[in-house]
């Protein structure tokens, strides 16, 4: 077991700042890599060393493995934290880190590879007896197989890329005709986007709730779950609002999902932080979807209700430390809700809105947490994801959390760029959301997203 003395943050924006804070608190030196477009990024000011690794475009900077590894070598770091997105679930990158004797803060190369293949992950879930969304046994071998199976399952169905995930590489088919064309198109798109044309089939669960379980596992194989996050508020499969606990989720269901999540983690030899995603149908039954082998955007929600700093746990676990606690030690308190703040214009079909932020006023108060790299005078670059911050609230009850979130959203001021703040305010006043009766189609249905 070796304590890290220096880690490299292979990411940008709010998560880079988040990781930097955790490292500092653990007395670990930080190396921040950045693209030219990010040279005025906030966390650079706080990092012990900064290295410019390339021009703005991600392919030439944050996704460029040799540049990142090279930066890690010349700054002599012990480990790299990949954050989320970019190279966080890139097995090849994790492998290169390993061969360069740099610790990759995340699961093993094998676990990333196995669970990164969404088809294999499903097979594994089945094998250990976890309920999966009804669908194909493995990869679809032909259009005929797809059609036969679709008829058996009953339309509508979902064609999904095995190398996809995170809402990408999915197509709905409502009948034989759309299945035939959808199957072909899905394969072409998967080949183009993920270099792997393989697809599998799932029955489309109508108006589901998306509930995921956070897990933590150490390198010895001890696993705990840290409860669920309900991420049903999505627009085009991109999450916007997440909360814990999932409103109205029965304790037995939570426990069963938690156990299922731990089961698949153990079966995959998983270590570090991960998230096991499920869908809940209208009857309250849960079905396994996929595993995300990384820290997630919405991790603060779990941190608030459990009191556990997940980024620090990631670092600790990666340096070889044991978990140090058991499932019975995990306590959930109160209700936490997170709202993602994006630089996008809802009136222009959510077109990204990069540009100069002329004013940034973060809300404060009891139980209010802001995770953002924004500051007045900062220019949001056009090359990256439009998320510019997260607003998280934690209170004793969901009702109180909603009241605090409304107040916090009112207090939040961002000027100079368009944001989804007004949409967020509208959602937090919508009676369906307030009653906890939303599903993944909510935003599209009520706000024409």
């Amino acid at each position: 077991m070796k304590k890290f003395s220096r880690i490299l943050i292979a990411n940008r924006g709010e998560i880079a700042l988040r990781i930097l804070r955790a490292a500092k608190e653990l007395d670990i030196e930080t190396v921040a890599v950045y693209s030219k477009a990010d040279q005025d990024s906030l966390h650079l000011e706080y990092a012990d060393e900064t290295i410019c690794i390339g021009p703005g475009p991600s392919l030439q900077s944050y996704l460029d493995v040799p540049k990142i590894i090279s930066a890690a070598e010349i700054t002599d770091v012990d480990a790299i934290h990949p954050g989320y997105g970019f190279l966080a679930e890139n097995a090849h990158f994790a492998e290169v880190c390993k061969s360069c004797h740099i610790e990759f803060i995340g699961p093993s190369v094998e676990a990333i590879r196995l669970l990164g293949d969404k088809g294999k992950a499903r097979e594994l879930a089945r094998k250990v007896g976890i309920p999966c969304v009804p669908g194909s046994q493995g990869v679809l071998q032909s259009e005929k197989e797809a059609t036969d199976l679709a008829r058996e399952l009953g339309y509508p169905v979902l064609i999904k890329a095995v190398a996809g995930g995170g809402g990408r590489g999915m197509r709905i088919a409502h009948n034989d005709v759309s299945l035939a064309s959808g199957y072909m198109q899905a394969r072409v798109e998967a080949e183009t986007s993920f270099n792997n044309p393989d697809v599998y089939l799932e029955k489309l669960i109508e108006k589901p709730r998306h509930v995921e379980i956070q897990i933590l596992a150490d390198q010895k194989g001890d696993v705990v779950h840290l409860g669920e996050r309900d991420c049903s508020l999505q627009r085009r499969h991109q999450k916007m609002i997440e909360e814990s606990p999932s409103p109205g989720l029965p304790t037995e269901t939570r426990d069963a999902m938690g156990e299922a999540a731990k089961k698949i983690a153990r079966a995959a030899g998983y270590s570090n932080a991960g998230t096991v995603e499920f869908l809940l149908d209208r009857g309250g039954k849960f079905y396994f979807i996929e595993v995300n082998t990384r820290i997630q955007v919405e991790h603060p929600v779990t941190e608030m209700v459990t009191g556990i700093d997940l980024i620090k746990e990631q670092i600790r676990i990666a340096s070889g430390e044991p978990l140090g606690y058991k499932q019975a030690d995990i306590q959930m308190r109160g209700a936490a809700i997170e709202c993602r703040i994006n630089a996008e214009d809802p009136s222009q079909k959510f077109k990204p809105s990069p540009g100069l932020v002329t004013r940034f006023q973060a809300p404060g108060g009891f139980g209010v947490r802001v995770e953002s790299h924004l500051y007045a005078g900062y220019t949001v670059p056009p090359y990256y994801d439009s998320m510019i911050g997260k607003l998280i609230v934690h209170q004793r009850t969901r009702e109180e959390a909603i009241a605090v979130m409304r107040r916090a959203l009112d207090e939040l001021r961002i000027e100079g760029i368009a944001t989804n703040i007004q949409l967020a305010k509208d959602i937090f006043r919508h009676f369906h959301f307030v009653r906890g009766k939303v599903n993944t189609g909510f935003i599209e249905e009520y706000f024409m997203g």
């Binding site: 030219k36 290295i51 410019c52 690794i53 390339g54 021009p55 900077s61 040799p66 540049k67 590894i69 090279s70 930066a71 070598e73 010349i74 700054t75 360069c100």
Partner: protein, 161 residues
């Protein structure tokens, strides 16, 4: 020619037109406390400094390596105001030669062509040769042998023709 009357682009364009018509590469006019110098350069990227007004009682030029015009009014010494920087295209370790025993690729004062190798940047055990991209004379070497460099870091200053 009354240089104080050259106030805007139209006047400069008239001068440029003249240059074109007579096939001139460079024109320099001086008088009335003003100096105008227009130089046609073959460089692929148009440089703003190649087309400029150098009033003698001038504020110092901000471009690195540019000669500051003497405020006393005497014509400046023949100094390079056309220094281009070669920046690092990679993250890695800078080496001036192909191996510890070898001679450096370039020294100050060497003339280089666009294809000539200036240095090596080692990244992940791969030795990447960095070409000059510009043609000219190496004037300054800004990094020490064995030093770590990041993307965009200035490595050399080359005086271009």
């Amino acid at each position: 020619m009354d240089l104080s009357k050259i106030k805007d682009l139209k006047d400069l364009e008239a001068l440029l037109d003249l240059m074109g018509r007579y096939g001139l590469a460079e024109v320099e006019l001086e008088g009335d406390g003003q100096r105008v110098r227009l130089r046609k350069t073959e460089a692929p990227v148009a440089r703003p400094e190649a087309l400029g007004l150098y009033p003698l009682a001038a504020a110092p030029a901000q471009v690195a390596g540019e000669q500051v015009v003497d405020a006393s009014g005497s014509p400046p010494a023949q100094a390079p105001s056309n220094l281009e920087e070669v920046t690092s295209p990679l993250v890695g370790t800078f080496y001036r030669a192909s191996s510890p025993e070898a001679e450096p690729f370039v020294k100050a004062g060497d003339s280089v062509g666009a294809e000539d190798v200036l240095c090596i940047i080692e990244a992940m055990k791969v030795m990447n040769e960095v070409p000059a991209v510009l043609a000219g004379i190496v004037r300054e070497i800004l990094v020490k042998n064995g030093e770590s460099v990041e993307f965009g870091q200035p490595l050399f200053r080359i005086e271009v023709e």
